[in-house]
């Protein structure tokens, strides 16, 4: 391999010279505008003399002049247009940008005008202007495309302008750990790594995802990385056992890091690593085109939640070596369950779900969850009118009638439900643990809803308030609190 000696770059670049008398030609070119500038300077001197007479105004004027000069220098440095701006507007925009405020209409007007893809008439918010500013001034196309995230770990995809293709391409993901007060404790770049998820593990975090793609015809290479608590990359993996190899969930199990993934939308893959990055085990099972939502420890093995829009949820039990043991479905003759979260806590397995009456036909999720509601709205019986103008006051009770939030308490070894809790008129949400290690179960309760037949993303949308149920470690219900949080609902 050839040795890379970048000192020679200096030698080679030193040989690149502009045409002869380049500096002289610039100076000649600059002399023309200099004449016009001269008269301007006389006026400026006269103005300053008038101000001298004003005595106490001097200090303020000098400050103003300095700020203006700084502002113009800034405008020049960032190639911002000054032609249509007054002196005070130039200073105001300069202050607005350099303080990170981005709240002036004029700032938004200038910046958004220069950023491709800005839609005229859209609401100009400070965050939109700031994002546009970052895009505009990105060197090599660096931009942060995700909305600000909360929490200890944040993930941002950084892009660059690809000169050959002429559009922005994903480059790497910037992982940041933030402390209280939002200070960044460390950050690390993961090259060609779209992060799908992470879990805290002993001494750091395990992140997983896949390589960047911009077309469904491109293959996705599995990416897994272990990052230490102080932000060092301990190891990272590329795997491509399938055209599309996509890790989807992980479990930290003692000295083992177990990653579950999808292979070509057909197989469930199980890969076990140790903390040094050695691959201890790999297995694959054909499960069909099913999404992998979540995985938890179950006894000595694992429970993986699979989801399919037509067939509903399934839970797959795997042993410690990744072998399939059993498939669990929580069904009843007249009720469908949709799992929303799983948690192992205090030796118990908890499953959060919601239930709805089994539709007469069709898929078991999505809009079919609301078959009776739609039947009511679309009813064009003898009167032929239906209820297309249904109000929120009418719709909310119909939605409440359709759903029941359910919490299953399952045997940690078998996964069989031992006990369940139900809340009528709600959806089961996230499970978590409070500071006293007590189980918290969030349930979503409809407050407002509307029907919108022409919207592509949904037909019925609603907002729900989140009520939290807390359980003691022995499973006793301790109480209910209103979190004050609101979440959305769309079908």
């Amino acid at each position: 391999m050839k040795k890379l000696d970048l000192r020679q770059y200096k030698t080679a670049v030193g040989r690149i010279t502009p045409r002869e008398n380049f500096a002289d030609s610039i100076i000649l070119r600059l002399r023309e505008p200099q004449k016009r500038r001269h008269s301007g300077r006389i006026i400026a001197i006269a103005a300053v003399m008038v101000m001298l007479a004003a005595g106490s105004v001097i200090g303020a004027a000098a400050l103003e002049a300095k700020e203006y000069r700084d502002a113009v220098t800034f405008f020049d440095a960032y190639a911002l247009p000054t032609a249509e701006l007054t002196r005070s507007e130039i200073k105001a925009v300069y202050r607005d940008i350099t303080t990170g405020s981005f709240s002036l209409d004029k700032t938004g007007e200038i910046i958004l005008r220069e950023v491709e893809g800005t839609i005229e008439g859209q609401a100009i918010t400070p965050s939109a202007v700031e994002a546009a500013w970052n895009i505009r001034n990105s060197t090599g196309g660096m931009t942060e495309i995700f909305a600000p995230q909360m929490g200890e770990y944040r993930f941002e995809v950084v892009e660059y302008m690809d000169e050959e293709r002429g559009f922005l391409m994903e480059d790497y993901t910037l992982v940041r750990r933030c402390g209280s007060g939002e200070q960044v404790l460390w950050e690390i770049e993961l090259d060609n790594f779209f992060v799908d998820g992470y879990i805290p593990v002993k001494g750091g975090i395990l992140v997983w995802g896949h390589t960047f793609t911009w077309s469904s015809t491109q293959s996705r290479v599995a990416r897994v990385a272990l990052i230490s608590d102080d932000g060092k990359l301990v190891w990272e993996k590329y795997h491509q056992r399938y055209k599309n190899d996509m890790p989807a969930a992980a479990v930290a199990d003692g000295e083992r890091l177990v990653v579950f993934g999808r292979g070509n939308f057909v197989d469930l893959t199980v890969t076990v690593y140790d903390y040094a990055g050695n691959e201890l085990l790999y297995r694959a099972h054909e499960i069909g085109n099913t999404g992998i939502r979540q995985a938890v420890k179950l006894g000595d093995g694992y429970l993986v939640r699979l989801s399919h829009y037509q067939t509903g949820d399934k839970l797959i039990k795997l042993d410690r070596d990744g072998a399939l043991l059993d498939t669990l479905t929580y069904t009843a003759d007249d009720v469908c369950y949709v799992m929303t979260d799983m948690l192992e806590l205090g030796g118990q397995l908890y499953l959060s779900a919601y239930a709805f009456p089994t539709p007469a036909s069709g898929d078991v999720q999505g809009r079919n969850e609301l078959a009776p509601v739609f039947a009511y709205i679309f009813d064009d019986g003898s009167e032929g009118s239906g209820h297309w103008n249904i109000t929120s006051a009418e719709l909310v009770p119909l939605l409440r009638e359709q759903y029941t939030a359910v919490l299953f308490v399952c045997d940690p070894a078998s996964g069989e439900p031992k006990q369940f809790y139900a809340v009528d008129g709600a959806l089961g949400g996230e499970l978590g643990m409070d500071t006293a290690s007590q189980l918290c179960w969030d349930t979503q309760h409809f407050t407002d809803a509307y029907f919108s037949p022409a919207t592509s993303a949904f037909s019925i949308a609603a907002s729900c308030k989140i009520l939290r149920y807390t359980f003691a470690q022995d499973g006793t219900l301790l109480g209910e609190t209103d979190t004050g949080e609101i979440c959305g609902y769309m079908r």
């Binding site: 391999m1 000696d5 770059y9 670049v13 600059l30 000069r69 220098t73 060197t139 660096m142 302008m161």
Partner: protein
């Protein structure tokens, strides 16, 4: 008369700014245009600088921004794929290295030039480019890795032809 300060800056910095612009644009004509634009901007607004270092940094930043604007419009025009005036008669390893650097994406070319030719520190480059020092460090490392790979592949090609 042209302000002595500006004239001195032209004589002192024109070549360096030209080299910076050239390594980004890979075209002598475009690089010369950009440098002239930069000094016209300097003349029009005559910003005050505390030192020559400060002035130089400002000129570098304006040059980088002007090049960036030109690159953005250049892709629409889409001229030739290859630089219009790369030396074809590479006489030594230094020329080979220069050609390899110029073949890198601009996001790697710029920090490499500022670091290895201009001698700026990573922190200073980060300020000039408006990004984080960690990003500059990563781009330098990746740029070096790409250069190493490009030069090795070239060497292997030569061996195969031989």
């Amino acid at each position: 008369m042209l302000d002595e300060r500006i004239e001195a800056a032209v004589r002192r910095e024109a070549d360096a700014l030209f080299r910076l612009a050239y390594t980004q644009l890979r075209s002598r004509a475009d690089a010369e245009d950009v440098v002239q634009e930069v000094f016209l901007t300097y003349l029009r607004h005559a910003p005050h600088f505390e030192s020559e270092t400060h002035e130089r940094a400002w000129l570098m930043r304006v040059t980088i921004n002007r090049c960036r604007d030109m690159l953005r419009s250049a892709w629409v025009k889409r001229r030739a794929e290859m630089p219009d005036d790369l030396p074809d008669d590479r006489t030594d390893e230094a020329d080979e290295l220069l050609a390899a650097v110029l073949a890198l994406p601009v996001k790697y070319r710029t920090p490499i030039h500022l670091y290895y030719y201009e001698g700026y520190a990573i922190r200073e480059i980060a300020e000039l480019l408006g990004c984080r020092p960690a990003t500059v460090g990563t781009r330098l490392a990746r740029g070096r890795a790409l250069l190493r790979r490009a030069l090795t592949e070239e060497e292997e090609d030569l061996h195969e032809k031989a």
